[in-house]
Amino acid sequence: MLHAFAILLCLQLAGEALVRAVGSPLPGPVIGLALLFVWLVSKLPLPEATNETADGILKHLSLLFVPAGVGVVQQLPLLGAEGWKLLAIILVSIALSLAATAVTFAAIAKLMKIADEAPGEKGR
């Protein structure tokens, strides 16, 4: 697990370094993601526990957003009188974009006859 965690950190570090060197608009961790992906695809050796470590962190991904979320609550006065309008716009805009994205994806998959449904719990 320690080795796997070190790999994740090293790739993030490499990502951050690349971002600084090239001046890319992407955050370092996203470059780190791409690097780990390339590593996996090229079947380079990895610590045995890499899969479990990654799954373990991702299982509690929600936890990692809590500090930022608390920060937002502190910033709420920033919204002032526009707060409710902003929330309404966000809700309408995300409903539109969620629907448009998923419908487009599913429709094209169906058109290309690759719309086999993934096994998953229904109705949740």
Binding site: L26, A54, F65, V66, V70, V73, L98, F105, A118
Partner: protein, 239 residues
């Protein structure tokens, strides 16, 4: 006898207290979410944030002293993002097969996400600063704040929009997809990640591993596309 005031003064100044509080609040929130059958309204991020915020207000704790402890958790967002490569590689055959639907949905979703927010803000007469903060709301926080700087917006206000978008999207995605009778979990997850970045991805992993994988891809791709599209579309949308 222990002097509780002294004890509080000592503990509240050390990172241990708020690190522990954040983890415990999340464990409680996650248990409630599980007990509610992962009902979308019982969102663990939202519940934890409400618990902690209430405690901070009651105890009159300033955010910087909270963050001194919570930063250790916040820091893990980096390695967690790198870790998204593992499910991506595991589901590579599905991802390859879905390549075309993914790219088309990405372009459609990204344009609608940016333009609907900006046009609604214009229609409701919001301030320029609020409008600019809404434009990159679906990108992951680090990218959205970078975009905000580029378009002369306010990065702090943008971060607020990003988190509000994340939590709201994670809550409405499941009922909305059920309403649309969409059972393609790749499509559902992709939409969740595109619109609600990491928080949507966390929700997608809660529902289905394949949905989570596609959410992770959408989070990365839409982060990039939003950074490109916002500066291009904005003059045109506001014009």
């Amino acid at each position: 006898m222990i002097n509780f005031v002294d004890l509080w003064v000592y503990l509240s100044g050390s990172p241990l207290l708020w690190l522990t509080a954040t983890i415990v609040a999340y464990i409680v929130a996650d248990a409630i979410s599980a007990a509610c059958g992962r009902h979308p309204l019982a969102n663990p991020v939202l519940m934890s944030v409400v618990f902690i915020s209430a405690v901070l207000i009651i105890s009159k704790t300033a955010f910087p002293s909270y963050f001194a402890g919570a930063q250790f958790i916040h820091f893990l967002l980096g390695p967690a993002t790198v870790a998204l490569a593992v499910p991506l590689y595991r589901h590579l055959p599905e991802v390859k097969r879905m390549f075309v639907p993914m790219i088309v949905a990405l372009i459609v979703g990204s344009i609608i996400s940016i333009s609907s927010a900006v046009l609604l803000a214009k229609w409701l007469g919001l301030s320029k600063l609020a409008t600019l903060a809404l434009a990159p709301k679906s990108a992951t926080a680090a990218i959205a704040m970078g975009v905000a700087e580029k378009i002369q917006g306010d990065p702090a206000l943008t971060a607020v929009m990003v988190i509000m978008t994340g939590i709201s999207g994670a809550i409405i995605v499941t009922p909305l997809m059920n309403l649309l009778r969409l059972k393609n979990y790749a499509a559902r997850g992709f939409a969740a990640g595109l619109v609600s970045h990491g928080i949507g991805t966390a929700r997608a992993f809660q529902v289905n591993p394949l949905a989570g994988t596609f959410a992770g891809i959408a989070l990365g791709l839409n982060g990039v596309l939003t950074a490109i599209l916002v500066p291009l579309l904005l003059p045109w949308l506001l014009g």
